[in-house]
Subunit: 229 residues, 2 copies
Amino acid sequence: MAKKSKSEVTAERLYTISMEHFLNKGFDQTTMRDLATAAELSPGAFYYHFPNKEAVIQQFYQRSFETFEAECRAVFASTEKFEDRLTGVLKARLSTFEDSRELLIVLSRSAVDPRSPLSPFSDGQKEIREATIQIFREMIQTSDLKCEKRLRPYLPELFWMYLMGIMLFWIFDESQNQEKTDALLQQLTRQIVRLVRFTRIPLSGTVLTPLIKTLDFIRPLEPKKESTI
Amino acid sequence: MAKKSKSEVTAERLYTISMEHFLNKGFDQTTMRDLATAAELSPGAFYYHFPNKEAVIQQFYQRSFETFEAECRAVFASTEKFEDRLTGVLKARLSTFEDSRELLIVLSRSAVDPRSPLSPFSDGQKEIREATIQIFREMIQTSDLKCEKRLRPYLPELFWMYLMGIMLFWIFDESQNQEKTDALLQQLTRQIVRLVRFTRIPLSGTVLTPLIKTLDFIRPLEPKKESTI
DNA sequence: AAAACAATTTGAACGTGTTTAAAAAAGATG
DNA sequence: CATCTTTTTTAAACACGTTCAAATTGTTTT
């Protein structure tokens, strides 16, 4: 067992207390003084362990990612069918937030601010983003997906963006148990997969080539040792 | 000329002063006390005219919409080619924010909060949203676009969502003059238009029918007097 | 154990968005 | 004009995220 510093232990305790409050009273309704009081600390001491309020749910996001990752691996182990894998990944990501929609909403607020380190597009989130994209890479690699060769390397990031879009939809989905998101996700994924497959028949001149050119202009692929892929 | 109450006149003045500050110092850097001082008012008096800080840029958004609408009409008058119209509309919407990207970013912050009345998806924004969708309706109606009949009524709202997506991309686009957004918009629009056209060849059983079913489940069309359309 | 250093905690204060009770100004009515 | 009503303004205060200088506690070195 690794020795933990007092600070680490305290931070863990503060995190637990904070999450309890957030889930009960909501993020906005929970005040930093509330948290400090509950932890029998002064506000200042709380700030010694967390740089700010959002950092606490940031940690929640971080942890929930691990659950998500595990679920994805389980899905990949269970099927090679690409469509099933993709829907599986999407559902896995949403299921992690089922009981805490408000927290995802709060995270989303900073999500669209390019300057916020909490934005999934920002540098501060690079690690989680890359890890998620890596999951999509794995999803593709060992699956039965066939598609135009040139498009393939762009797919992981494109699917990641698709995931972001689905999460956004879910946030706004007020239907019972977010069943509408479920329906959309199911159908849309199916058609997207079809579309990707469809790229195998030659339509390069007027469709794929310019599109790939644009993709590369917007977000050039990093040079990568092909061996590991 | 309509008689204007003193309050209306004052609100107008406050708006002007506020926008000057926002554009010079940025939204976050401008304090309510700054604005009140500049207007030679107490903070409280300022709040008599605007319910809160964001309401001021909300008004900016409202006004910018009118410019946008006019530009769209000009585009429609100049061409019937659907693709040109769609790219025209998208570019028109972005051009309105060219000089004030930060303000759009600020607006976007509440954009992803379902509970914020400033969200383009919310009830509070229904008017502008409906008006924008109406523009897309006009764009389609008098254009040369051919597509599957059943899909047609869903297109205006779908294109509106496409616009939202493009705006989001633009917010994050740090390239020179947001040229990447421009490239994406151009290429993506072209392929989307193709895809829509493509729906005319029969693929109903496995593609279009279930997709339309899902669309209708998620966002049923309102019953409408067909005559006016 | 004393001294030096580091980690943690405190409580007061700051900045800023917003509210509020009361005053002042403007308008309407007799 | 005097009175009543409504609109507008004021100054002070609140709430809450956050910062900070100083105090306390804990650990290491001599």
